[in-house]
Amino acid sequence: MRLGREEVLRIAILARMGLSEAEVDRFKDQLSHILESFEILQQVDTTGVPPTTHPITLVNVLRSDEVIDSLPQNMVLMNAPRKDGDFFKVRAVLGET
């Protein structure tokens, strides 16, 4: 599985990961090398084998609908890089591409 530069850039957009030119080149080679070695997975016959998403059998976990304490707003906001009053401050979303 050889990845080209365009493939790396496509993945970077999906991951919202800014990459330098040097990183694009390095990841192109490293990810290709890693994926090539992982192609052995395709040798395994998994016909009729269900996927495992979790090592324990998970069922829906419910709790009774009771009000419990949550963190006060000022503590939730205490690590925010930008805030305005009781809000996280974000850059304009609408009108951007």
Binding site: A15, S20, Q30, L41, V93
Partner: protein, 489 residues
């Protein structure tokens, strides 16, 4: 102080005796650890944060509790916490520039439990960034050095935790293990390290890496201490819906020295090509020792899907990581690129400058494996192989109580040796990561040395068989003195 205090040789159970009988105070013990930290930290760099003031105030509280006669086994005893577990008011960095200044507003459940036992937190341990790595070289802050040879890695990702215990900076530590991150550094530093069954210990407040694989566990100086720490941290937590509501036994009660009737399997696939011959020899000798103690060993067990575990793991773990680490957007906490008004640019540059190379590599790998057109061939395929690996273990445990393998294929390697080749680095987890894939419990205990460098033995059990594992590890420990050897530092 009426005893000669060397904090690097004290166990939890010995310290507890000294505290309870008034031969030692928690403040004295804590001061001794803090002095030891000052002495060895310039050489090993195991700690991201030293919490000396917090520790001394916790020690004073512990001494009051002990004086009132109401102490528990961990009361007043210094511990180091891996820096991916939230500590209220104490920064929790994951050894990443991304959250270098993050101060959690709450405690992880395990930290809450230690605080409830009046433990003394002396520091937060260095690690591979976001727990991604096998050498602690991926810390964005600084590398940690192995106390057995300062030019070698301590293993990872819980390298700081293992070194803290091995070098005497605290009496025990907590680590986390996603593919071997407790056991491999425990093996490399000659301490005891256990990854409990998935679901045994709450992950609430553990910064997520790969949520179906992550598990918190103890790093200690002996097996008794491991059982004591597990007693405190195990159990159901409504805040972690993957924690399992089954009762927590007293793990110290299973510690007895006879191994009559115990059935051990030695899977041949774990003695891989490229394994150092001294490591294989040490583990064979260790299994012979277990036979001497009464166990029956089958040396011909085969787990043929083992050779696919590495590829399966390194598709699943990065996929989960790419989803979990999407939260680092520079809005809620952490590093935030500020030199733009464009939302997308801010997001991309925050992640470009905030994450280190291995974290980016794994996010990219996982994003690819989950992306449209590749999901079935990579992520889904890896999950199906995961099923086959788990089934193979389940079948083996119909015949055996435990499986015994080396913890790592080699002794600790030199700093820098594998840093440029990610795939080589991934191979150092080859013996440990199948256990996370299957969600099983496993321990690494000291089992020998080659050229003065530690060798770890891994004992793997079926889900929730921690008692069986601890019993076998304890019997081995009582019959050997590998765990008593300490690095000269």
């Amino acid at each position: 102080m009426s005893v000669i205090l060397d904090p690097s040789r004290l166990t939890i159970h010995k310290a507890h005796e000294l505290l309870k009988t008034g031969q030692l105070s928690s403040v004295e013990l804590t001061r001794a650890c803090l002095e030891r930290i000052q002495q060895v930290e310039p050489k090993v760099s195991a700690l991201v944060t030293i919490t000396d003031r917090l520790a001394l105030s916790q020690a004073e509280q512990a001494d009051r509790l002990i004086a009132s006669g109401d102490s528990s086994p961990l009361t007043g005893i210094p511990v180091i916490i891996k820096d991916n577990m939230c500590t209220r008011g104490v920064r929790t960095t994951c050894s990443s520039r991304m959250i270098e200044d993050f101060v959690p507003p709450y405690d992880a459940t395990v930290v809450e439990k230690l605080n409830g036992a009046r433990a003394v937190i002396v520091g937060k341990a260095n690690m591979d960034e976001f727990a991604m790595g096998s050498s602690t070289e991926n810390s964005a802050l600084f590398p940690t050095h192995n106390p057995w040879d300062l030019e070698r890695v301590p293993g990872g990702s819980s390298g700081g935790s293992a070194v803290g215990v091995a070098a005497g900076e605290a009496i025990y530590a907590l680590g986390s293990d996603t593919g071997g991150s407790i056991r491999q550094p425990a093996g490399f530093c000659s301490v005891t390290g256990m990854k409990p069954t998935y679901g045994r210990v709450s992950r609430y407040g553990l910064v997520a890496f790969a949520s179906s694989l992550d598990q918190i566990g103890p790093l200690t100086r002996d097996v008794t201490d491991c059982a004591l720490v597990l007693n405190t941290i195990a159990g159901y937590d409504p805040r972690d819906s993957t924690s399992v509501p089954c009762p927590v036994p007293d793990y110290t009660r299973c510690l007895s020295s006879g191994l009559g009737g115990v059935r051990i399997g030695v899977p041949k696939e774990y003695f891989v090509e490229g394994m150092q011959s001294e490591v294989a020899a040490a583990i064979r000798a260790a299994v012979s020792k277990l036979e001497e103690l009464g166990a029956r060993a089958d040396w011909g067990v085969s787990l043929p899907h083992t050779s696919y575990a590495l590829a399966s793991y390194y598709v699943i773990a990065p996929s989960e990581a790419s989803a979990n680490l999407a939260r680092y957007d520079g809005v809620k906490y952490g590093f935030s690129y500020s030199d733009t008004d464009n939302m997308w640019e801010a997001l991309e540059k925050t992640r470009q400058y905030g994450f280190g190379p291995e974290v980016k590599r794994r996010i990219m790998l996982g994003t690819y494996a989950l992306s449209a057109g590749y999901y079935d061939a990579w992520y889904l395929k890896a999950q199906k192989v995961r099923t086959l690996i788990r089934r193979e273990f389940d079948q083996a445990f119909e015949k055996f109580d435990v499986l015994v393998t080396p913890t790592s294929p080699t002794v600790p390697f030199r700093i820098g040796d594998k840093a440029e080749d990610p795939l080589q680095m991934y191979l150092s987890d080859v013996c440990t990561l199948p256990i996370n894939i299957a969600g099983l419990p496993a321990i690494s205990i000291p089992a020998g040395f080659a050229g003065g460098l530690p060798i770890g033995m891994q004992i793997i059990g079926k889900p929730f068989s921690e008692e069986t594992i601890l019993k076998i590890a304890y019997a081995f420990e009582q019959a050997t003195d590998w765990h008593k050897q300490k690095p000269n530092i």
